[in-house]
Symmetry: C2
Subunit: 339 residues, 2 copies
């Protein structure tokens, strides 16, 4: 079997806004497996906002993505050849296959490849609601925001894979849930499909005063928990509406990825309202994954947790789809379909 | 017995920096006690930074100090007359007597007046190291920063009543402790008297770059915990030096009391370093006071917890002493001695 693997490499680092010129498509032959290895054909690539941070060569929580190497990222796929007794051809698996059509994996390393059951849960969901984004939402909500029934929880990037999970998990816990998203289409679907109580279109509120008024209307009892995906003016507006003892889970601050840091206007609110703000990365809390995935998997299998996918076709479309994700062009989980 | 009580009222609210003209000294006769009441002669008034916030008529965690009424504040003193079976003349007590020489208290209300033992602990210490400031430091350190031996803890306003307690409690837990204070005298004493490992004179570092360099030198392993009393540029500099999983306890942000909020320059560090920031007010955590006071009292009684006092004389000196406190003119606990 002589297979050609098409891969996307990080060719050079962005200065400011990234572009397709930062990436490079290459073709390489797939070489024969060594003992213990597995060959996986990737069916879907996951595109996620965290990848933007790794494109920079600066100190962050993650190692920078190395230049000239395959872009790192989550994948689901099917085993096509195995020299490892734990896997056989036909197994559906989730792993970190990167932006490429095939991956050769030393499957003896613990946790690099997980078999998944697609009887009740579609394969692609393991990259979204029943994968990293779902667990991210679960952790920030359950472990940091710790919502109580009757409280108000606000979620930015509400139509994204993480935000959608946060809101529906909070609804299931008896909260009033208010999303923030870009554009009337997304906001409408966040309410009608995902079941949020309200959703604010931040594009319709370009200044702090207008956004604050919208938050006041949508959150008449103030805000008790906020799941932060964006930063900047939205964070400022939410903080002004936060109640005493409110909690903010910092999951992403996409608005500051491309340049200078965006300040928090009034940090003294942390004291005045005795707030708790906590940043987290879900990969550092592997201990909670089984509990989170159990709840998320059950909700998806029974249709109680809704999610949307935006699917680009073919490996060559990955860079453009990724740039679209950073600009909020996707609705729900952004995937690249390879098979 | 015909006693005259001299009292300091809040006469009008400051616009920007407060002045002595905001206060008014009045004399009122002390009327006869009703059943259940106690008359206390205040020996010391406590002056504390939180009082500045209450002088404003804005939303904060505390009710604004009402105009035309006695300034609220902690006091220690001696019962001079009692119509309550739980107190007798000669009892030493701590309470919230306010800025006045005498207080009439309905001592049947729970917790308004506490008898204290001055055998091993001086009466004034119940307003400082063994009182609200000590418990404030204890709570922020033990419950929010949760220091581990070997970690580095930074404390701003290190020569104050709260900061001094924080640093010594952290030293007792095996931490490297670095203070920040204003001027070489205070810094020298923070190290030589209070036993901090180092103390940075923020007045010698007027810009972020210089302060950052000083922090880097004093905290070669980064910063794991920060007890925040001031805000502004010091907070920015500390955050730049904070380690992954560091914790900041927000106790005061004195730098923002007189005007516009001072922004936090780089909130994305909360995410990048998975930090936890938490504001608190010690009066909302009465449950921990017995545990905290037990440790603080034992350390003071055995001379292991050092503290300084700056003492103004006579009720009329209170406004000026308070303004000095806000400008950092005190060393350690600022008191007004009345007897």
């Amino acid at each position: 079997m002589s297979l050609t693997n098409r891969q996307i490499l990080l060719d050079n680092r962005p200065t400011g806004e990234p572009s397709v010129a930062n990436f490079k498509l290459v073709e390489t032959p797939v070489s024969a497996l060594a003992d213990g290895e597995v060959l996986v054909r990737n069916h879907y690539l996951s595109l996620d906002p965290y990848m933007r941070g790794r494109m920079n060569d600066s100190k962050s929580y993650a190692q920078p993505q190395p230049l000239g190497e395959v872009m790192i990222g989550g994948t689901v796929g099917e085993v096509v050849e195995s020299r490892n007794s734990h896997f056989k051809a036909g197994d559906k698996v989730v792993g970190m296959g990167g932006w490429q059509e095939y991956q050769r994996v030393d499957a003896n390393q613990r946790g690099v490849l997980q078999k998944v059951d697609t009887t009740h849960i579609p394969l692609s969901a393991y990259l979204g609601a029943v994968g990293m984004p779902g667990v991210t939402g679960w952790y920030g909500l359950v472990k940091i925001i710790t919502p109580k029934a009757g409280e108000t929880v606000v979620v930015s990037a509400a139509s994204g894979a993480v935000g959608g999970a946060v809101g529906q998990l909070a609804k299931a816990r008896g909260c009033r849930v208010v999303g923030i998203a870009g554009g009337p289409d997304k906001c409408g679907q966040v309410v009608s499909e995902l079941g949020f109580d309200a959703c604010i279109d931040y594009k319709a509120h370009p200044d702090l005063k207008s956004l604050s008024r919208a938050l006041k209307e949508a959150c008449p009892d103030g805000i008790d928990g906020y799941f932060e995906n964006v930063g900047g003016m939205i964070l400022d507006a939410v903080m002004l509406r936060c109640n005493a003892f409110s909690r903010i889970a910092f999951c992403g601050m996409i608005s500051g990825y491309n340049g200078d840091p965006i300040p928090m206007t009034n940090p003294s609110l942390i004291l005045v309202n005795r707030m708790k703000l906590e940043g987290f990365i879900v990969s550092e809390h592997m201990g909670v994954w089984p509990e989170a995935l159990k709840e998320l998997g059950a909700l998806v299998a029974t249709g109680q947790l809704k999610y949307r996918e935006t699917v680009a076709e073919g490996i060559a479309s990955a860079p453009e789809a990724f740039l679209g994700l950073l600009k909020g062009k996707n609705f729900g989980k952004q995937l690249v379909k390879l098979v």
